[in-house]
């Protein structure tokens, strides 16, 4: 027994020593370490031929030129195109995220038909033929019932061939209800028309400006064409130009400015008029320009023979430095100093439209800023604000409406834009939630393309409820976004990296710029160009509708309507127009401080945030950050990863609260609270910050997605759930800069 | 740790550090070898009891 055990022990030890002396353990050790260096579950990106393809990024309205780096047929990186008129090599984080969108888990991989309850997320993959015929069948039925106007269409913009194909479809079908994503462009278009009589948009000649005065515009937070604005800001800095930001919160635009004027929220227009007061009173204005090109500076007599007060009277009477200081909370001396510096600068420029421009704002404010520019002669001058007439670059054959269509088109628009109450407005999409519930007539079908209203429009909680009642909701989204998740049919579009499409001129640039988005890779999934789908739907509808769409496919349609532009666009990628000449098409043929026809004028119209002060002692306002995409395109995983831990912590969004206010409310850093507004309530956390004034709660836009994938969704709260639109009495557009709110510790 | 590793440089650091290390290892190795060899020898000579 003992011998056996001892022998066994000896054998064991001997064996171990013997093995250790062979190369086996050493070889094994080496092999194992090599294995750890090449773990099979750690991907090894395949090599391949490197190529670069130029195109345009259409993820946001900025439209940067992009150079896509490919390895084999894989898209590996997106870079800004050097020398491109928008971004000259720069690119933002949304643009950089393209590959994550292209291959992302939230892509809709084929046409889907809802099989579960609405929003439940149960789908059946269907063929494109079935998808098209289902839409056509529904539309056909409504048309047969002579209700074509109950079909609505919601788009990110109304320029460009796909938007105009939709508009064309609805025109020949018989619905006036084409809607566009609300933005400051709505108000800018209106203000341009009122002051210049021109249908179009302004351009800002920032490269030649010497003094930029921004009334709350987040020029470094996505306002205008974001990367273009970044370039412009750096250019201003390099040339020792001054930048002044007027804003209640210390946004990054305010922080980067030479001077931050911390006004009371919503009083920017009063400051603009107060500055006009000083400039007029001290005769610092450009007399030559005002005399030669302006109308309505002095009192005048209108066509009816009525005596009308001039702009001069308007500002001298109401906006003394003392009054302005009272309204805005600024010091009189600062107001006077700013006015003088602005007027004395060689090429000053004032811009407005808050944040990244998603809320249209008041017409009075925009006209006040226009007036300020006009006073210093910065209208239509290099370094100033330019008027870019609508570029009619697409030549469409005139559509023929049949009787049903003509009748449908005569219906009042559901949003009331252009009607008796709001004659100046073209779109009032911000009110979609209310309109769907209590508009003139029920909407029976809604086509949503390139837009995500359930997330993106104010009052999204209400809107979600209202959309649930629409009998047929069709989404053309490439991604399973919040709206697509509620749809009856999802007809996924190619994403921008997979499709050919014209890119209409970019807002804010001093020259019109037409671009062509070109496919850089083959479609990854069974998606289809929305342009093709529209044509196919029209053809399936037959009759007069089909006749308006004579093209076999979208590409031939695009080639035809672009005409001669196509070849040049195809070759160069973009076409730059000329800087427009100074020209006014108003009744007076001059720049009108006060519109002679509509009497629209520069004004400070206080926009009172919704809610009872007693119940909601604080005011909630949204802010924009480049790291979060607030629009129809969601954030990418990389963008969410880049968000500060003072903005997003685990699943909670942090709202900025002034330490003074937090002290009063007994709140400390990181406290979980319920943020309640008249529009909704949500759980958030508190971040103490001196960037906001006492009494204000600031919350980032762009979080709180409920759809998409776990990398993007389920993080924080959607600001739009807590806000509601407040109409500007003149324009009818949404002018809400905030909403009353309360914080309750949980 | 060996001169044939590619990080190896014949500099002062390596000479002092590795010199010290290999010196210590050698002493330990020789000591153990000495004890084992001696024990084997003694065992084969049957000298177990001589120690006590």
């Amino acid at each position: 027994m003992k011998v056996g055990r001892r022998r066994f022990l000896a054998f064991g030890i001997g064996g171990a020593v013997g093995t250790a002396l062979t190369p086996l353990p050493w070889k094994l050790m080496d092999d194992i370490s090599i294995w750890t260096q090449n773990w099979p579950w750690t991907p090894v990106p395949p090599k391949g031929v490197v190529s670069h393809v130029n195109s345009v990024c259409t993820l946001c309205p900025g439209r940067c030129g992009i150079t896509v780096r490919k390895v084999g047929d894989r898209v590996v990186k997106i870079e800004g195109t050097k020398g491109h008129p928008v971004n000259d090599g720069g690119i933002c984080l949304l643009g950089l995220s393209g590959p994550q969108f292209l291959y992302g888990p939230s892509r809709v991989r084929s046409p889907l038909k809802r099989v579960g309850k609405r929003g439940e997320g149960r789908w059946e993959a269907i063929s494109w033929e079935q998808a098209v015929s289902e839409v056509a069948k529904r539309m056909g039925e409504l048309r047969a019932k002579a209700e074509p106007h109950t079909v609505g269409c919601l788009l990110p913009e109304d320029r460009g061939s796909v938007a105009q194909l939709f508009a064309r479809l609805l025109t020949v079908y018989g619905s006036p209800n084409v809607m566009r994503r609300p933005s400051i462009e709505d108000t800018y278009e209106m203000a341009l028309y009122q002051t210049h009589g021109i249908i179009g948009r302004p351009g800002f000649d920032l490269q030649k400006t010497t003094f930029l005065l921004s009334f709350g515009s987040g020029y470094l937070q996505g306002w205008g064409s974001p990367v273009h604005m970044f370039r412009a800001h750096s250019h201003l800095l390099s040339n020792s130009c001054r930048v002044v930001q007027v804003e209640p919160r210390l946004s990054i635009s305010a922080a980067k400015a030479d001077r931050w004027m911390a006004v009371k929220p919503g009083t920017e227009a009063a400051l603009a008029l107060g500055l006009c007061h000083v400039i007029v009173k001290e005769s610092l204005y450009d007399k030559a320009f005002v005399d030669k090109h302006c109308q309505g500076f002095d009192a005048w007599t209108d066509e009816q023979g009525q005596k009308q007060p001039g702009f001069k009277e308007l500002v001298l009477g109401n906006f003394t430095p003392a009054t302005t200081a009272e309204i805005t909370g600024l010091k009189q001396a600062d107001i006077i100093e700013l006015a003088r510096n602005f007027a004395k600068a060689s090429r000053p420029l004032a811009i407005c439209g808050r944040g990244n421009g998603s809320v249209p704002g008041t017409l009075g404010e925009f006209m006040a800023v226009y007036a300020l520019n006009a006073l210093v002669g910065s209208v239509g001058r290099s370094g100033g604000v330019l008027a870019l007439p609508e570029a009619e670059y697409l030549q469409w054959p005139a559509p023929e409406m049949d009787e049903v269509a003509a009748k449908g088109m005569q219906q009042q628009r559901l949003d009331g834009a252009g009607g008796d109450k709001y004659p100046l407005a073209r779109y009032r999409t911000s009110y979609l939630a209310a309109l769907l519930k209590g508009g003139g007539y029920p909407l029976k079908m809604l086509l949503v393309a390139g837009e995500n209203p359930v997330y993106d429009l104010p009052g999204s909680t209400e809107l979600k409820k209202a959309l649930a009642d629409i009998p047929f909701l069709v989404s053309f989204s490439s991604f399973m976004d919040e709206t697509a998740a509620m749809a009856d049919l999802v007809l996924p579009n190619h994403i921008y990296l997979e499709r050919l499409e014209d890119v209409p001129p970019v807002f804010g640039l001093p020259k019109p710029l037409l671009q062509l988005c070109r496919p850089v890779t083959a479609p990854q999934f069974d998606t289809r160009h929305t342009g093709d789908v529209i044509i196919q739907i029209a053809r399936a509808l037959g009759g007069g509708v089909a006749a308006a769409f004579p093209w076999p496919d979208y590409e031939s349609c695009l080639k035809q309507v672009l005409g001669g532009h196509f070849a040049r666009l195809h070759k160069d990628g973009y076409l730059e127009g000329r800087v427009p000449e100074l020209r006014f098409e108003t009744a007076s043929g001059r720049f009108e401080f006060i519109n002679t026809e509509y009497k629209a004028k520069p004004a400070y119209t206080p926009v009172i945030p919704q809610g009872d002060k007693g119940v909601f002692p604080l005011v909630l306002t949204g802010y924009d950050s480049m790291r979060l995409a607030g629009g129809a395109v969601a954030d990418s995983p990389f963008m969410v990863k880049s968000v500060d831990d003072t903005v997003l912590k685990k699943g909670d969004v942090l709202v900025e609260v002034n330490p003074h206010t937090a002290g009063q409310q007994g709140l400390a850093e990181g406290d979980a609270v319920v943020l309640a507004t008249p529009a909704g309530r949500a759980r958030v956390r508190v971040h103490l910050s001196h960037r906001v004034p006492p009494g204000m709660v600031a919350m980032p836009r762009g979080l709180g997605h409920t759809a998409y994938d776990p990398f993007i969704g389920g993080k924080g709260v959607n600001f739009n759930e807590l806000i509601a639109p407040v109409p500007d009495p003149v324009s009818g557009l949404d002018a809400a800069w905030g909403i009353r709110a309360s914080l309750t510790k949980v | 740790m060996f001169p044939f590793n590619f990080e190896w440089v014949w500099d002062l650091g390596h000479m002092v550090f590795m010199g010290g290390l290999w010196y210590a290892l050698t002493i330990i190795g020789l000591g153990v070898t000495y004890c084992v060899v001696k024990a084997v020898k003694e065992t084969s000579e049957g000298a177990q009891d001589s120690h006590h």
């Binding site: - | 740790m1 990080e7 001696k38 065992t43």
Partner: protein
């Protein structure tokens, strides 16, 4: 008892069932630790609460602490074999065993701590001789070999093993030249204990732990060696006293303990003087040259308040040193044990601040303090070696003549 053939002659041991129960209890804790260890290996270090600010945390502290505490082995060996303090032969076995447990534990913890344990041997193969950690790795491994050699004769003295002529002879031979091993061990220990101090002392990006020094060695190098030599024996005494308390009998004669306590006391006293000088120089010269005040390192949170410095230097430094160097103090059994425990705690606190507080203090002015609490997996894997140590002590005490004076102090009545 079924294992009575294995129990050394002339000593009394508890019944087998008691022994088995104790081993089983410790094994339960051990298994918990092993489970946590496997989680760390299989799922990765996301199982811990470490992060990019705390690349070093509980484990590295535990490493530094056990190696300092295990310093009793090399220092006692040095005193016994090289400086000829012969009385210490009655304690050396236990000192070696404690050292063996500490060092094997340190290596196990390191194997869990590194992100790629399967290629951890690169530290040897691709050694960077300028890194303090390389020096630690080499000397620590080599010294662990020495500890094995020192522990081996004790195993061979087991009643049954000793019957085999070869083992008997080998044991005898090893004893015979043990001075050579002890001297080599002391040499290696000097360097790796020092290098562990160097690990934080060389971090010139971390003003809390950075120290000037001589040649390539920062002052912490010498302070760590010295403190290990001072506090290691304290730990040996403390554990011996604990063992005696649990065994319910005296195992080592007082004169042996007193000698070691006296030496440890003087080591601790001289160490603490050096440490105070180092602290004053650091607080008034080194840190201000980097733009930092002493209180920048000790404010902002209660966890790393100035109390920790008072604890380390005052309560766990000056106080035990004062007790141990005064004959009246160390002759009082309660005070002696208290001093030994305080000394051991002091070195642990020192290692804690040098690892954890180094990383907690913000260096970039716009960063803030980062605090850390270990995850249960970290705690379990840190307790694992304690359970393993308990088991090894239980087995060794039962079957090996760890305490040569035990039969004499506790004669068995026939």
């Amino acid at each position: 008892m079924i294992d009575s053939a294995l129990i050394p002659k002339g000593v009394k041991r508890c019944p087998t069932w008691q022994f088995a129960l104790a081993v089983a209890l410790a094994s339960g804790v051990l298994l918990w630790g092993v489970y946590a260890m496997l989680l760390c290996w299989i799922k990765g270090l996301n199982q811990t609460n470490m992060n990019n600010a705390y690349g070093f945390a509980l484990w590295i502290w535990a490493d530094l602490a056990v190696i300092a505490l295990g310093g009793g082995a090399f220092f006692t060996g040095l005193l016994r074999y090289v400086f000829g303090k012969d009385e210490l032969k009655h304690l050396i076995n236990y000192a070696v065993l404690i050292g063996f447990i500490c060092y094997s534990s340190a290596q196990l913890i390191l194997a869990i701590d590194v992100g790629q344990p399967l290629r951890a041997w690169f530290i040897f193969w691709h050694a960077n001789v300028h890194s303090m950690l390389t020096e630690v790795a080499f000397c620590l491994s080599a010294y662990f070999g020495v500890l094995c050699i020192e522990y081996l004769p004790l195993i061979l003295e087991n009643r049954q093993i000793d019957k085999v002529p070869f083992w008997h002879n080998l044991s005898h031979n090893l004893h015979h030249i043990m001075a050579v091993f002890a001297a080599t061990g002391a040499f290696l220990s000097f360097f790796h204990q020092g290098s562990l101090g160097g690990v934080s002392g060389v971090l010139f990006g971390r003003p809390f732990s950075f120290r000037e020094g001589v040649l390539v060695w920062p002052w912490t190098f010498f302070l760590f060696t010295w403190s290990a030599a001072a506090c290691g024996p304290c730990f040996t005494i403390a554990i011996t006293k604990m063992t005696e308390a649990i065994a319910g009998k005296k195992l080592v004669k007082d004169n042996v303990i007193q000698l070691l306590a006296k030496i440890a006391g003087w080591m601790l006293a001289t160490y603490i003087v050096a440490k105070i000088i180092d602290t004053i120089y650091w607080a008034t010269v080194t840190a201000p040259s980097k733009g930092m005040n002493l209180m920048d390192f000790y404010s902002n949170n209660a966890f790393y308040g100035i109390w920790i410095l008072v604890l380390e230097i005052g309560i766990c430094g000056i106080l035990p040193a004062a007790i141990l160097i005064t004959p009246a103090g160390r002759k009082n059994p309660k005070l002696l044990t208290t001093a030994a425990v305080l000394g051991a705690v002091g070195v642990c606190v020192n290692r804690w601040v040098m690892v954890l507080q180094t990383l907690a203090v913000p260096v970039l002015p716009f960063e803030s303090w980062t605090l850390y609490l270990p995850s249960w997996q970290e705690v379990a894997t840190t307790i694992l070696p304690v359970a393993y140590g308990v088991i090894l002590v239980l087995i060794s005490y039962r079957y090996l003549p760890v305490f040569p004076q035990e039969p004499e102090l506790n004669p068995i009545e026939q």
